[in-house]
Structure formats: structure tokens, C-alpha cells
Symmetry: C2
Subunit: 690 residues, 2 copies
């Protein structure tokens, strides 16, 4: 046996009768006197076992079991009998809350012989969060706010300590919380609460230093809300802070929409209507409060049990949520008012549906157009923890682009404008019921078929008309227009330079001519849905801006092909990577290395909610991200013009070519497009961005 | 010359041409290259020179002058010419704000030869506070909130830092403020303020770590409010945080009086009227806010320039101000809800007349009846910094008593009841216009004479009737009743046991008989002012409680005669120490060692306001004060009974006897008072205290 193992104390007879305890999965082990409590042994070895009640047999968080058998590696024979028989405390707990066969409360069970002790995942303080589909990062739980149950001696003539001193000293003695501050708000509640609770309370302590909430008696379920404030929608996920599990999710339209559909119109509204900032702030705060209420109700949770909160959003949403005028973000050089992470008490945000002790954590912003939402995406996708050259793209009115790996990380935003969201498109619309979201064009007949939001049928499937009768085909949304243009390109309808080449397909039913220009008819009826030459130009401008931004970062890092591409955001989930690459929205890359990450910003908020170290991680990382200003870069305009072509005028797409046969006509048509090449509407490049 | 002196760098030619700079009064010295700025030299040596503008020649705080002559001690000849000629910066400053002859701005003037440099008191960062009369402690200024002027580069395409980062980095670079947090409230103001101020701002930084306020441009006058919340009155002193000078003072009746005259009735009111705590809290907070407004107006200061605040008060006033139910303080074992020092933002207290960045600092409480006001008294009188055995007494409805020196410090409170405040006295009243406050009795004729509040004339002075005609003689206040009883005792009217001995002075005009008991008439008319036997008993009970408490502490420390006695509080200023000692309110002590300290609690608040180290000092001290519970002590009741006699049944008053001839009859009358001795109304001892 290993004589170097730690051993502590002797048993009551004064004669050492040590036994060996090995904890799995950590493998930590040590020798202890017979009679040592399993939890005490674990604590001495630094084995990670959870506990809220400090060994009173109430919380049941510290359950373990004993493995049976010969463990030659440790030179012991481990048997359940090598712990003492079930204690009175364990029997009481088993009666009240049930205790599975073989399970022991480590705070009560004592070592009587050599034992290999299994600490199940759910008994570990730092447990892995169960990952959701589309989430790439493993994160373990390390709560910012932790619960600590204490029982206090009541005051008497011989013990006249103040209520605060009594509570703080108990938390220091039992939990080692030495430097605790007490939120002033709690002082008023304290005397009545302690007495009604008969001096047994559960304290919520933030960052090991700040007492933020108190419950009478034993309390072990608390929750955290992760909020993603988008320009269009606000999404919230309520998480069980013990398991990390999402217990409820809800979304709501951002009520600021009544003040302006997009960011720039909201900034203008604030600028033109004095006092309106308060209204916009109040609107988004009320909406977030409503989501807290709604998710709590769905999960059957009390609002006061929501004890932590994390928030992401683009810089303008972030600033307005904090009550900061976003005016500066609307014009060059786009400085943020605050970029560092901000912590704000619930009360200062007017949030009434969460515990008043909540300190909402807003992830840091990165640059003028690269916000806390992008910080969330980075936290979720963790390019900085990988050797892979990772390209993260979050497409909205602006595209946020991040490129790099553990060595370097670059970020910029690019003014794509709202075309990808269906705006500035003749038949375009927001992604809503009846909008065309998928498009295929028959390469032989050039006949279109499509799917609309609200039905899974294609337009040429039987029953399509009936299935969509209630809402009809109302227009085309962002993912639809991308597929339409991409399909038009690979079928040769649209040239490499973006010209609808009606002359090439005389008599084609789906091409309509008006003067010199053609349109492609996707759906019949009046007015129906047409893709016009102007629509194609709008998409070209948007995709060129996106590509040029990406290219700028790639050139700065000398990257030709990223190791992986992650499309973040709702839009990223709806577009087909193949069609995006056909258009040259994203650079060439093996198909299997392109992935839609869903609401990665929201996932990042959730990670920051559940693991306190990740807050420090993203705060430090943001400092070292190199912020690239596309507007300031002379290469950007040049790169932008070259990126107007499909997929690109200069850069080859070898992986894409293996995957989709690009039209052979592309090169031929390039010459016909000379007029466009000479004047590719650079004036349409949206200079003022928001 | 001393070659061990520090020297730093070389001049531009690379050849060391060191000169010696000696700073007075500190005597710190070092060698520096010719051309070194005086302030830079001072900083390197750790010489204490103030500056707000960081060497921009704006604030003028860093002025010094050069001493002329031979300084053999340093081996140099110092001349004003050993600094460079007046710089452009100094000339500009002299034009704008004037610069006295011989004065130099140390941030601009350079060393050209050996020089002895005088740092005048007003240029020192840690300057002594000018002490007021009745203040015993020297305190130097060491502001909790300091001002720092910075000029920021405006944002541009090559510098897109956020407003917060820009400001924080400037404060870190120029002032070494590395770990600064920014109050969330400031974020909303920041962008507009920085731009309107053209990127020149003065920052107020609390404890070197928290940015709490900002002013456009250069700002160098800020103020702090020291508040003493008494049961009856609230007093506030507005202090210039640069000089420590009181620029305005104001007082107001505590508006809680409408809910109850004394503490116990207010606690009862809160107990009986649910929701009334909010009203009492709001009332006192509004009053404090009003005092901030009033003192600022008096001094011609903007409310936003009040940037710090300290508060003292007894435990009940302290708790109600914080919005804490004081119920527990009304009954045994009288536990405080919070004893540690508390810092509360102005907004949480509803204070609108001070800068919203104010963090009000409430001094710690000591025990259930020994509050932040006593902590203030201790800070002001500093018994813990002295070898002298010091007795501090603050008399109110409860007396707070502190005894000790740097070795040990004991504190208790004693239930004197309200007799000393004129309550429970037949003709008693609050100290107000027309109340008798001074009393003398002619030892031969037993004729009284007195003075009333509102006139400096004695009642037997000519013109007294005219001078007091507007208000008349309305009753007798605390200091008056003490002097009356003491004078009655030394003239033999009252026996040692407190009996009005009418039989002894047959036919005396001022003694009135009713049944078996006598009264002494102080003033004529109907009803006039009488001192009744019951009044004497009330005063005896009060003084016995006070003495018994004091005695308990003295016995615990084995002290017979304190080295000094300090009477704190308004009441302490009005009573005559001699009369107090004649009654045996305070123990025997040489007359010159008894002193009234005025509002020492308020002085303590002012000290904590002006010197941040004193906050840590009192917080640490309160931890080590031994809290003595009189109610829990079996000796207290016994001691209380013995203290009913005048001045005391058991303890001699040798110093008093040298000072005032105590009546020879005292001993003789003791026997006559046997009936009283057997039943000294112990039931009247107020058991429930507040």
C-alpha cells in the first residue's frame, strides 16, 4: 500500500486503524481513520461533491455508492459493508425523499473498511451541462450564485449578536464564506424572515462574496434566465441552476418594433423624439420581465427562485436595455459607450418577475457593431480554444464576422443591409406564414418549385393548394431569395455577374420581360412572386459586403480555406449552406465543415449563466480580439466590388465545384456583363450602417 | 553629500548633473537630474502634494515655494533661482487665478539647482482638519472620494475604444486607477457628457476603485454631509472636502415626532400600525434630504457637488433610516439587525438633493442600545488611542456609557428614562423658549434665582421680567432640574436620601407643604414652577441608573477615578459638570478633567466623512469593544439602589468635596430617610428600555 497517501487523525482509542478510500471518477484517494465520514474524506482530498445543507442530511446532494469487488490497482477489496449501516439521518432522508438502493448520504455514512466510492455525475458540484443539439461546447456547471443552508442559534442575553453578524458568522463557519457583504435591500427583510424561519434559512451567495437572497428553511431549487435581445425577437431560456437543464423557453417580438422595424430607424426615432429612449428602454425591459414571468409559469417555478440572469444582444439593443443613448453607434466611428461586461441589479432594470437579488450579467460588447451577441457566439463556439481556423458568421442587417483560433481572433462587422431579411426585395417579406423559404429550379425546364412557411409540402406536391389555402403564398423571405438566386445561377438563368439572361431562354414561361430587363416568376397569380433584376442586385450587394468582410479577415490571417464555418443566428439556421456558398456569401470550404449553430448567442448567454469562469473567459478574450474596421480599410471597397460576381470574380471555389456543378456558361456570360462590371452600383453600398 | 540618496535618470546629454531637492516639512530628500519637475521629484520621494489636474497647471493645488539660505544640515545653499524661471503654464495660471509671489506650480517648475522646497499645508493631500472648539482629536483629511481631471483623445477611425474604456484607461494611465468600476447609473449620462465637455472631465472616484460622478471640464469643489439623526433633532454639517471646513450647518426637528415623542412610542407605533415603518423611514429621509438642500443653499453649493455623506444615530434611528423594523430593539435581548457599517446609495434612500453617486456611510452600531452615535463619540474622543482611562457618557432616554483606554474598551447603556429630558417631572418640559435652564439657591435665605432659555438675565437681574415678557417662564428643562436638585442638596433642603426636609426650615417662603410632603417653589405665579418630592425621586432614579451603569464598567476595569470624563451630546453641553457630580450622575473626578464635548457623535460623523482610514478604525474597534449588558448583570440592581443617595450611599467623592462643600447635614439626614432606604421604588426602574 502506498504509504505516501495522506492520512489524518486517529480513531477514538488513539490507535490508528486507517482504511483506504478511493473516489471515482477522479481516482483521488487517501487513508482515513475508521469512522471518518465519507464527505469529510472527500473534502480533504478535494473530491468534488455537492452539498447545500452542510451535512444535515436534508439536501441529498452528496449521494454516493460503493463499488463492489477486487480493485487490484488499489490493492483492496471494496464492499458496500465497508461503510457503516444506514444511519438514522439516512433513514429519515430515505423516508422523506427516498434514497435509491445502494445510495448513501456521504455526509452521514462513515468509513469502516477500504472502499471504492462512486460519485455519480448528479452529486458533483461541477457537473457537465447536458448539451443540446447544435451546441458544440462542453461546459460544466459552476454556478455564480450558490445556495447554503444554515441553522443559527437564536439570540439570548448571553448572545446578543446582531442578525447580520449571526448569519454571516454561521456562513463563515460552515461554508468558509469569510468576506460576505449583505445586500442593503435584504437588511429590511432579515429580522422577520429569520424569526419566522425559526433561524433556519438558505442563503444565496453570489461569487462567494455577496449575500443576495434568503429563503426560510431549506431551499434547493433555483433558476437562471438567459436572455437574447434581438432586434426582431427576444428569446429567453429558463435554466435549472442545479442541472443546467432548460426548463422553459419563450420568445416574444421585440416591442420596440413599434418605434422602427430596423435598428437605424429606432436610433433615428430616439434622436428625433426627445425622451423616447426611456420608452424604448422600458419596452424591452418589460418584455424581458414578461419572458421571465412566462417561462417561470411554464416551468411551475416561482419568480423569486430566478436568482441569476445573463443577457446578450447587439450593441444597440444592449445599450438601450441599459438605458444608454445609442446615438453614437449610428455614425462613424461608431464608438460603444461601454464594452466591458456590465452587472446591473434587477431593480435598476425594473424587473419584477425575478428575485430582487438578481444581478443581471450583460456579456461584453466587442466593437461598435460587434456586440454581446457575438461575444455569446464566441463563447458557444469557442474558436479560441481550438487549433482549427474557425469562421463564425452571424447574418442580420449587419453581419458579424469572427475568424481565428487559439492564436489570434479577428472580428469585424459588414454592412450587408436588410436584403437577406427580405427587405429591399420587390416581393420580399419577413420570415412569416406564407413566405417562400425554399426554392428549386428544374435545370431542364427552368420550372420553379418552392415551399412556404406553414407547410411541409412543395408547391408541386399534391394537396399544396389546400394546405396553404388559409394563408396563401404571401411573398419570399431571406432564405427563399437566397435559394432562388442560387438556383437561377446554377441553372444559367442568372449570369456570373448577376444578369438575368432572358435572351438565352427564348419562350421560357417563367421569364418575363419589361423593357431591357427580365424577371423570373416563382409563383403565379397576381401579383404573384417575381425575382427581378433589382432583387438580384440587392442580394449581390448584400453578399458582396458579407464576403468582403470575411475576405478582409482571411487576408489578414493569410487564410484561404477556413477549417470550419459556423453560421450563427436564426437566419443561419434557415439558409442552406450549399446555396449560401453558391452565391459566394461564405468562402469555399468542404461542405461537411459548414454548420448552422442555431441561436449560438443565446447558447453563449446560457454558458455564461451556468459557469462563472466563462464570464472571466469572455471578458479577457474580448480584450484580445483584434477589432477590424471595414469602413476604415482601403482594401474593403476593392474586395467588395470583386465579390459582386457569383460566387466570386477572383477567388476559386474548388470545394464547391466538387459539390455543385457550376454553370459552364458562367465565364462566357462574364463578358456580356461588362456594362455591369464598369458600374456595379457601388453607390448602393449602404454607407451608414446600423 | 549623502551618496545613498536616491537618484534617477540622467539629463539629456547623458551626463548626470544631479541636484539635491529637500522637501519640508517632511524632510524627504533625493537627488534628481537638472530639469526634473518638482512634482515629479516629490512623487518619487513619496512627498504628499495634492493635485487634481495631473500637472496641467489648472488646479493650482500643487503650489510650493523655495526657502532661501544656507542649510548646513543638508549641505546646500537654497535659492529661488534654483528652480527655472516661471513657465508659460505658471504665467497662464497666474493670470487666470493669480499666483502669490514666490509660489510655484510644482507640476511645471523644474529643478535647476539644489533647493529646499516648502510644501505649505494647503498643498498637502493629507492636510490637518482645522479643529473646532470642543473637539479633542486631530484628524487629517484623507477623502474617500477624490477628484481626478483627465483629458481624453476623441474617438476616430483609428481609435474606436468605447467611452468607458477611453475614460478608464485615461484614469489608469494618469492616476494609477487600475481597477475602476463605473456606476451603472453613469453609463447613461456618459456619451453626452463626454462630448459636451469636449472630452475634458473631472471624475470623482470613491475608495480609489469606484467611479461615482463626473463633471464636464475641470471641477475642484466637492462637499460632504455629516448627519446626526437624533430622536428629537437631526443635525447636518456640510463640509468642504478639500479643507475639511464646515461651510454650513443646519438642524431640524425629527419629523418622526408626530408618530411618538420618544423612541419607545415610535417602536410601538410601528408595531401597531402595519405599513407605518415606511412612513417613518420616508419622514427621516426627507428631513435629511431637506438638510442637504438647506446647507447647500446656505453655502451656495450645488446639490450635485455633495459627493459623500456619513450618518450617525442611535440604533433605532439608524434602523428606521435604513428601512429596518426596529421591533427587536424594543425587547430583551435587544439584538440589532445589523451592527456592521453600512454603505447605501443615495437613490436607495430617496435622497435627491445630493449627487446620485453618493454612497452614504452609516457608522457601525455597537450593541442593542449603543448605536452609531456612540461609535461617532468614540471616534471623536478616541479613548482607544490614549493611555488615559476615559469615561464617555452620552445622556438621553438611555445613557450610553463607554469606559476604557487603548488596552480595553467597555460599553453599555443604562435605562435612565426621560427625566433628564424634562419628562416625568411635574413642571418639566423640553429645552425650549421660556424653560428654566440654570438654578442657584441662596444658602442663607434658600431664595432661588434662575435663568430661562431665551434670555441671559438671571431672574433677580433688573429687566428680567421685560426680557422674558414675550414668552414667560414656561417650565423647567433637564439642565434646570439637575441644577435645582443639586442646589437643594447642597443647601440642605434635600437630604442625602432625596427627601425634601421641610421640617428643618419652618416658615421658609419657598417650601410648600401638602400632606406629609414638601415642594420647593422656584418661580411664583400660578401654576409657577415647583420641584416636588416626586420630581426628586424621578431624578434620583435616572441618576442612579446612570451611575450604576458607569459603576459596573468601572468595577469591571477596577477603576475608582477615571482620568477624564467626557459628557457628550446636546444635553452634556447644557448641564454643569459640577451639579452633575453633586447629584452623583457621574463619578468623582477632578473638576478640570470633566468636559462637555458638544455633539461628539456629529463630530465623529465628520471625522469618518473626511478621513477614510477612520472608517476602518471604528469598524475594527467596534469589534473589540466589550459589550456589557446591564440588564443581565446581577450587580447592576444592587449598585442601582446604592446610587439613589446623593451623591452616593457607598462611594466617596473626595474630589467633589474639595470643590463643593457638601452639606454636613447629609449624614444626619440619612437616618431620617430610613423609610425610603427600605423601599426606594425599585419598581419604578424602567425595565423596558428604548
Amino acid at each position: 500500500m502506498d504509504e505516501t497517501l495522506p492520512r489524518t487523525g486517529t480513531n477514538e482509542s488513539g490507535v490508528s486503524q486507517d482504511v483506504l478510500a478511493v473516489f471515482l471518477p477522479s481516482g483521488k484517494r487517501g487513508r482515513f481513520p475508521v469512522g471518518t465520514k465519507v464527505l469529510a474524506a472527500a473534502r480533504q482530498l478535494g473530491v468534488d461533491i455537492d452539498s447545500i445543507c452542510a451535512g444535515r442530511g436534508i439536501c441529498g446532494r452528496c449521494q454516493v455508492s460503493v463499488s463492489s469487488g477486487e480493485f487490484q490497482k488499489f490493492g483492496i477489496h471494496s464492499r458496500p459493508e465497508n461503510l457503516c449501516a444506514r444511519t438514522a439521518l439516512e433513514k429519515r432522508y430515505a423516508e422523506l425523499r427516498s434514497l435509491a438502493k445502494g445510495r448513501r448520504l456521504s455526509c452521514s455514512a462513515q468509513l469502516t473498511g477500504d472502499a471504492v466510492i462512486d460519485v455519480p455525475a448528479e452529486s458533483q458540484l461541477h457537473k457537465q451541462i447536458v448539451r443540446k443539439k447544435a451546441e458544440s461546447r462542453n461546459v460544466e456547471i459552476d454556478r455564480v450564485v450558490r445556495l447554503h443552508y444554515v441553522e443559527l442559534p437564536p439570540p439570548g442575553l448571553s448572545d446578543q449578536r446582531s442578525d447580520v453578524a449571526r448569519l454571516k458568522q454561521a456562513l463563515a463557519a460552515e461554508w468558509g464564506l469569510d468576506e460576505l457583504t449583505v445586500a442593503q435591500r435584504l437588511l429590511a427583510e432579515l429580522p422577520l424572515l429569520l424569526r419566522r424561519a425559526e433561524w433556519r434559512v438558505t442563503a444565496a451567495v453570489r461569487n462567494g462574496s455577496e449575500l443576495v437572497a434568503l429563503w426560510p428553511g431549506f431551499h434547493d431549487r433555483v433558476f437562471g434566465l438567459a436572455v437574447d435581445i434581438g432586434t426582431t425577437t427576444i428569446a429567453a431560456h429558463l435554466n435549472d441552476l442545479e442541472t443546467g437543464e432548460v426548463v422553459a423557453a419563450a420568445g416574444v417580438m421585440n416591442p420596440q418594433i413599434r418605434y422602427g422595424e430596423d435598428l437605424i430607424s429606432r436610433v433615428s426615432f430616439i434622436q428625433q423624439n426627445s425622451g423616447s429612449l426611456e420608452n424604448l428602454s422600458a419596452a424591452v425591459r418589460r418584455a424581458v420581465d414578461g419572458l421571465a414571468r412566462e417561462t417561470a409559469a411554464t416551468a411551475g417555478v416561482k419568480g423569486t427562485d430566478i436568482i441569476d440572469m445573463s443577457v446578450v444582444g447587439n450593441p444597440i439593443m444592449h445599450h438601450i436595455f441599459l438605458g444608454i443613448d445609442p446615438l453614437q453607434l449610428g455614425s462613424t466611428p461608431f464608438p460603444l459607450v461601454v464594452d466591458e461586461a456590465v452587472t446591473v441589479p434587477a431593480g435598476a432594470l425594473g424587473l419584477r418577475s425575478v428575485n430582487p437579488g438578481v444581478q443581471a450579467y450583460l456579456l461584453p460588447c466587442i466593437a461598435g457593431h460587434v456586440g454581446a451577441d457575438t461575444a455569446g457566439v464566441i463563447l458557444a463556439e469557442a474558436p479560441h480554444r481550438s487549433d482549427e481556423m474557425t469562421l463564425l458568421i452571424d447574418v442580420g442587417t449587419n453581419a458579424e464576422i469572427v475568424l481565428g483560433n487559439r492564436e489570434r481572433l479577428l472580428a469585424c462587422s459588414s454592412p450587408t443591409g436588410p436584403a437577406f431579411e427580405g427587405a429591399q426585395i420587390s416581393c420580399g417579406q419577413r420570415a412569416a406564414l406564407g413566405a417562400i423559404e425554399r426554392v428549386r429550379i428544374d435545370p431542364d425546364t427552368l420550372a420553379p418549385r418552392f415551399r412556404v412557411i406553414g407547410s411541409k409540402l412543395w408547391s408541386d406536391d399534391p394537396g399544396f393548394a389546400e394546405a396553404t389555402a388559409d394563408f396563401g403564398v404571401t411573398g419570399i423571405c431571406g432564405s427563399g431569395i437566397i435559394e432562388a438566386v442560387a438556383e437561377m445561377f446554377i441553372t444559367g438563368i442568372v449570369s456570373r455577374m448577376g444578369l438575368i439572361d432572358g435572351e438565352r431562354f427564348p419562350g421560357c414561361d417563367w421569364l418575363e420581360r419589361e423593357g431591357e430587363v427580365y424577371s423570373y416568376r416563382l409563383s403565379g397569380g397576381q401579383p404573384g412572386v417575381l425575382i427581378t433584376q433589382t432583387d438580384i442586385r440587392a442580394i449581390q450587394l448584400a453578399k458582396a459586403a458579407l464576403y468582403a468582410g470575411t475576405r478582409l479577415l482571411m487576408d489578414m490571417l493569410g487564410v484561404e480555406t477556413p477549417d470550419r464555418i459556423v453560421l450563427a443566428g436564426a437566419f443561419g439556421s434557415f439558409i442552406d449552406p450549399k446555396h449560401a456558398m453558391i452565391l459566394g456569401m461564405i468562402p469555399d470550404c468542404p461542405a461537411r465543415r459548414v454548420r448552422a449553430a442555431g441561436n449560438a448567442a443565446g447558447t453563449g448567454a446560457r454558458i455564461a449563466l451556468l459557469n462563472r469562469a466563462t464570464r472571466r473567459e469572455i471578458e479577457a478574450l474580448v480584450q484580445r480580439i483584434e477589432k477590424v474596421e471595414t469602413a476604415a480599410d482601403p482594401d474593403f471597397q476593392k474586395s467588395f466590388v470583386a465579390a459582386m460576381a457569383l460566387p466570386h470574380a477572383r477567388h476559386p471555389f474548388p470545394h464547391l465545384a466538387k459539390w455543385v456543378p457550376l454553370p459552364s456558361s458562367a465565364r462566357k456570360h462574364a463578358r456580356q456583363d461588362k456594362a455591369f462590371q464598369d458600374n456595379p452600383h457601388p453607390a448602393q453600398h449602404p454607407k451608414s450602417r446600423c
